[in-house]
Symmetry: none
Subunit: 377 residues, 2 copies
Amino acid sequence: MPGRHSLRFDSADETLARAAWSRLAEPGDVKVASLLAEVGPTEALRALVTRDVDWMQRYLTRLPELDPPRDLRALASLGGRVLVPGDAEWPTGLNQLAAPPPCLWVRGPVELADLARRSVSVVGARASTAYGEHVAGELSSGLAGRGFAVVSGLAYGIDGTAHRAALGSGTSVAVVAGGVDRAYPRGHDALMAELVRSGAVVSEVPPGSAPTRSRFLQRNRLIAAMTSGTVVVEAAVRSGALSTARAAATLGRPVGAVPGPVTSSSSAGCHALVREGRAVLVTDAAEVADLVGRIGADAVDPPRGGAGPFDGLDDVTLRVVDALPVRTGRPLDRLCVASGLEPATVQVALGRLALLGLAERHAHGWRRVPAGRRPPA
Amino acid sequence: MPGRHSLRFDSADETLARAAWSRLAEPGDVKVASLLAEVGPTEALRALVTRDVDWMQRYLTRLPELDPPRDLRALASLGGRVLVPGDAEWPTGLNQLAAPPPCLWVRGPVELADLARRSVSVVGARASTAYGEHVAGELSSGLAGRGFAVVSGLAYGIDGTAHRAALGSGTSVAVVAGGVDRAYPRGHDALMAELVRSGAVVSEVPPGSAPTRSRFLQRNRLIAAMTSGTVVVEAAVRSGALSTARAAATLGRPVGAVPGPVTSSSSAGCHALVREGRAVLVTDAAEVADLVGRIGADAVDPPRGGAGPFDGLDDVTLRVVDALPVRTGRPLDRLCVASGLEPATVQVALGRLALLGLAERHAHGWRRVPAGRRPPA
């Protein structure tokens, strides 16, 4: 390697310098992130090319091929834009990360800064079940319909279902592990095109970059940091989706997990999150909105079944109800024995029940009013 | 009604007097239970027949037909026994109830006092699904195989499945709402016969008593009080099984709930229990055994000096720590009140504390992780 490199671009341009760092350093590199925060991207580049700093040797390997103006042109030809910290559109949630990305490569009309206010990441297993896909679809369309942008990772399974359902009734954003110039997996070409048209596709690596294993993992921290909360729909116990949940929890963002059959290994990771207190159990979009939404603006009522006709009656009256036959009438003295109550008490209860349309005189006694003639509860 | 009744039995005999009260008063009658605790069953009977006490008038209706020796003979002819408080076999957990039963009517060889040490109630919907029955079977045979007696209510659905599976690999006990002389539902005749042969069937009402609505509800408190923990397998949002869970939580017994598909209304009650922090999510017999086996194993917090595990937490999180109890769990809504914070904020703080190994779900809520299991500060 030569002793001193010359850069083929204006390294004093902050955007070009950040674009350079997004190719030189791998996502999640804490040392580089600290250096950028301390001295800025252009000074950090100078330190690299002058080989002033010993630990920076490793970044020299990519220096010869470095050409950020080419990367920016490639993005511009796709109608995309680069965001750097300080831009109005920069998602400030990223600044909470130990290693914020040097810049973001973005395609699509959605303003990323808006995500912080009202967005949910819906993530889960690639190896999803029909159940998981159904729930991901219901949640995502419900959240999108409530004005939440649904953020996910463009993968097969839960991610893809979440994007599609959200696009049907609102906004969706994909954060991907490779470059934004082409879809991974390729089978999601058309879905990515739709996200570019009406949502957004975001990456921290330049166009042309391959989605590697470590980039997938690091990508998950961006999903967590860019959204106001995370929901895991289906995840096996070692699913990558759990790393998104972990990242969200570390950042203090609410995390929800959707339960499923205990017989399904695809739900085991979700159940573990809830058991360990790392996630709140959620069953529908309203509960997710409640979890993620600000100060009760999306508060949810606990689920209730329909009220029964005998709900709200006091214990004594219920005992008389229990003593009342359904078909033929029962005389007062038998009602007293059956209910264990004295005649005066039974009579008061019968009067109350008659007023409510729940008991009636019949033959030589009393019976319940048949269900078909009862008033609505 | 005549001014003064004469009793056709030796009302000075405590067992006969308690058997009499179990026919005179409905299950859960707090007034009678208090009277029995204060003056004893024979003196309480005397007060009734002499009409000394005004509020006791209602119990006179059943007096003419009262014949506890006949009830005891009926039970004896079935090979059963009556238990009263103070008997070696009396389940002392019942004494925690606001209204303990005057006596228990029991058939079957299992010693009820043993239940307190190692038993789980497995309860759930009558309208169960194939999924719920599968899980109830797996849980119950797994628990019975681990030496836990499985207690349930002999109903169709989850109850019946739990009994059958437990009988296959261990012990099972049914607590029923009517008399122990015949099965309700009748379709569980053979199952009840098997429980009488190798387990136990228990009731607080005498032979011949009908299972009424209020007796079903009161029966649930017995199931909760006689066992070391309760698991709800499937329950709609208005299921009676939730009253067993509530009773168990009130008594400080651990409660577990099995999740299921969010698309199944039969699991909605279980999900609500977990969401509200009233139950721990459990997925298999090992997790239930862990939950129930934890009773009394909690370490005492030693006095602290020097750097504590809670040092360095922000003010809001510390307020939640201060609100967390050391032993039994506290539900989310109480934590909000105690800390003066809104639910979303408390949930975020709990998530952070759980990640740090400082808080955990316990019984019906959250508590601090006992000092012995905390990570080093």
